[in-house]
Subunit: 197 residues, 2 copies
Amino acid sequence: MTICFYLQDGVEVLDFAGPMEVFALAGFRIFTVSLRKEPITTQGILKIVPDYGIDDAPAADMLAFFGGEADHVSRNPVLIDWIKSRQASTSYFFSVCTGAFIVGRAGILDGFTATTYHANVEALQQLLPQTRVLGKVRFVDDGSVITTAGISAGIDGALHVVSRFKGQETAKKVAAEMEYDRWVPSEGYIVTAEAKK
Amino acid sequence: MTICFYLQDGVEVLDFAGPMEVFALAGFRIFTVSLRKEPITTQGILKIVPDYGIDDAPAADMLAFFGGEADHVSRNPVLIDWIKSRQASTSYFFSVCTGAFIVGRAGILDGFTATTYHANVEALQQLLPQTRVLGKVRFVDDGSVITTAGISAGIDGALHVVSRFKGQETAKKVAAEMEYDRWVPSEGYIVTAEAKK
């Protein structure tokens, strides 16, 4: 499993660092992409150099988006066009917090169930009438689209991804390794085939 | 409160990103330092440009150290000498995970109670006979020295720091903002003046 972390300027540091820790411990291959291959900062603090710009980013099994300055970022047609252009070669989309607005504006959430930061649940629902937006849930797994609630909930959603692709024993091992015994799988919502009908 | 995050090459991403998120939301001023002002990577993944090298890093109220490649790093006399040279101008030391080995080798933990990554509790105790090393605790607050258990426990220790300096209401607000309702203050160990005798 190869996972592309899209990191915009102003990205919230824990939004992506939690899942990055989880996926790294699980042995997934990770690389970072931003609009251009130029340094960005998280909340104005941490300076990060992305591995690629969108012009030269390789394909990945999973494309991941995160909150922090997400609304502004999601209004950039260049980024939205890039996400749409990657849809055919991408098996899974993952978002944390208001990262859901970025994938949402690219049409990725249409017809799916999703979640976002607790304060933005209604706004996302208004923006995406073809999406069922849930509140009060740590993460939603709707097959090819996995979305999580805010900031630290990204850790829970990432552990769920590990559980789904490598088994719950591996996910539990990762959680123990990072001393995150706070993972409660049942706090997530998994869309069943039955519910999709 | 100004907090200096020392980030070594190979630093564990969640070790520092959890506390960075907490301290940023609490309004603390944060900057990053590494041995040299050159890019480092977290676990070989995320490329970070530190704000300063140790040669030009300004003073900070709190110096923070993190795990991942910490044992190797803590054997560098240049770094250890720098930490010792900062002791007089630093009010508080904070460590996450095996970051305790770095501050420990600089003598900062001598005479204090501390904790570290669950798998390294015994090794730290052997290295530091003048330190009381506790296991099975999320964080230890021993006045000027605050240490936490592994990786995700840094979030809990950082919330405790916010609680101590800005009050528990502020800490609870930060925890709610980052959807980390998993914070259990009682899972930390606070050294009382009585216990110090």
